[in-house]
């Protein structure tokens, strides 16, 4: 069994003439949380969609636990898209149950138990029989997360999972993500907020389809040479460094 949950080599994705992902190589060890941090349009969502197999690379290779992304391996991944992506007429419980079923949880008793468990986990128990249209934005995010984790995947892709959540709920999400990684799951999380990124064990700063820096949050901050630097300073430092290098 490979120790890397994800291995990417020289990955490129072109959309027409536009290079959306530009020669990315990285490895993500199993049981870690890996953040993709960058502004809108940096290529974070495209990279996640390539990793889930929704998009096909223009060149380069991707391996998820030793295999290329395919429907056969899809059972082992959980995917939470940027927008909630739920069936609006169905209730919270019906949505989660549907995703549990298509991810292979066929045994009814076990499935119902797990569905109830994740509903409680995302604190939607009181709303479980309410249709998605009647939920607030934050509640929809929680229901969407529940759909992604109900089958307990070892590899989880979360595209901007905390957008629109209040600080308390955001903290709650991050506590849960930490529990998942300590239980052995690998999390790949995209974000454009520095606060979120600080929770990840390792980060990749992305800009214009490239990874401009990679390391733990403390390593990245330390690279600036300033003792009080935050992640925003670190990001700007690497952006400027890239511009200087490009001009040399």
């Amino acid at each position: 069994m490979p120790d890397q949950a994800i291995s990417i080599e020289k990955l490129t994705f072109n959309y027409g003439r536009l290079k959306v992902i530009n020669d990315i190589s990285l490895e993500i060890p199993k049981g870690s949380s890996f953040g993709l941090l960058g502004p809108n349009g940096a290529g974070k969502t495209t990279l996640i969609r390539l990793l889930t197999g929704l998009l096909k690379p223009s060149s380069g290779s991707i391996s998820c636990s030793g295999n290329p992304p395919s429907p056969a391996n899809a059972k082992n991944i959980g995917y939470m898209p940027q927008m909630p992506s739920l069936y609006s007429e169905l209730t919270v419980k019906q949505n989660i149950d549907f995703f549990a079923r298509i991810y292979g949880m066929r045994e009814k008793h076990q499935r119902f138990q797990r569905v109830d468990e994740v509903i409680k986990l995302v604190e939607l128990w009181a709303k479980r029989n309410i249709s998605i249209t009647q939920l607030s934005g934050g509640m929809k995010q929680r229901a969407s997360l529940a759909c992604a984790i109900v089958h307990q995947p070892p590899l989880l892709f979360l595209d901007e999972p905390t957008v629109g959540l209040d600080p308390e709920l955001r903290a709650h999400f991050w506590e849960y993500f930490a529990r998942l990684t300590s239980a052995g799951a690998t999390l790949i999380i995209s974000s454009h907020t520095m606060d979120d990124a600080a929770h990840c064990e390792k980060l990749a700063f992305m800009r214009e389809g490239k990874i401009i820096a990679m390391g733990s949050p403390s390593e990245l901050k330390a690279s600036t040479g300033k003792p009080d630097a935050n992640l925003e300073d670190a990001f700007l430092y690497f952006v400027r460094l890239g511009e200087v290098t490009a001009n040399v």
């Binding site: 096909k56 898209p81 549907f98 079923r101 298509i102």
Partner: protein
């Protein structure tokens, strides 16, 4: 099979939980049938035009229902989520087909039985065989809706496909004017459009009392169209090409 049925069940549950849409699905065929029936100047005219009208309405309702519902799957992002899951393209397409077909069939049966029970339209031929043939038109309509939805970016565009895909078929299928009295090029166009065969088959059964075995060509063409459209819809759902 399990995933296919799960998707079909979800599609049905979704529509059942939307009372307004459900009411429209049930009421619209009744309103249309009443209008057609009571606007006909004579019963003979109703009897002779009913097969073509039924074929046209089944195609129209099935296309609209499945096209918009399948498009919504994409616009609300759930299709992307499905494509990232272990379900196959066949599971998605046939699951949807089964789900929509139920409602298309309900509409078909309403149209048919309202015409023969309330409007007292006459027909010859076997009742169950006529229903089976209408189910085939319904399958074609759902396949056409699913396929065309791949080309629409939103519900508004999907509606615009009605005058492009459905209306020309109504004009050249023989409902308004006999096909053999049309210009040659329109007769050729008519031969390539599936509604022509739906109308032909239903007319042969309801007016001439023919059975399914006598209309093999119509069944074959409609079936081939349905399979072809499903295969093309499958291409638009390929993994690795976005969702």
């Amino acid at each position: 099979m399990y995933n296919m049925l799960t998707i079909a069940q979800r599609t049905i549950t979704q529509l059942l939980r939307d009372p307004r849409t459900l009411a429209l699905i049930l009421i619209v065929p009744l309103v249309i049938s009443s209008l057609i029936g009571y606007s006909m100047p004579s019963k003979d005219l109703l009897n002779s035009t009913l097969p073509a009208i039924l074929a046209m309405l089944v195609l129209f309702f099935g296309f609209l229902l499945s096209g918009i519902a399948f498009l919504r799957e994409r616009s609300q992002g759930t299709r992307e989520r499905l494509m990232a899951s272990p379900v196959s393209r066949q599971d998605i397409l046939i699951g949807y087909l089964l789900g929509f077909l139920l409602f298309t069939m309900i509409q078909t049966l309403i149209l048919f039985f309202f015409s023969i029970w309330v409007l007292k339209a006459d027909f010859t031929g076997s009742l169950w065989q006529i229903i089976v043939f209408q189910i085939l038109i319904g399958i074609l309509a759902v396949c056409l809706g699913i396929f065309i939805s791949a080309f629409a970016g939103n519900e508004f565009q999907m509606i615009q496909f009605i005058p492009l895909i459905i209306v020309p078929q109504i004009f050249v299928c023989g409902l308004l004017f006999p096909v053999d009295q049309m210009p040659i090029f329109l007769q050729w166009v008519s031969r390539f459009l599936p509604l022509t065969y739906g109308v032909d088959g239903l007319r042969a059964m309801m007016l001439q009392g023919k059975s399914l075995t006598n209309i093999g060509k119509d069944i074959g063409v409609l079936g081939a169209y349905a399979v072809g459209l499903m295969l093309l819809a499958g291409i638009s759902l390929r993994r690795g090409h976005g969702a």
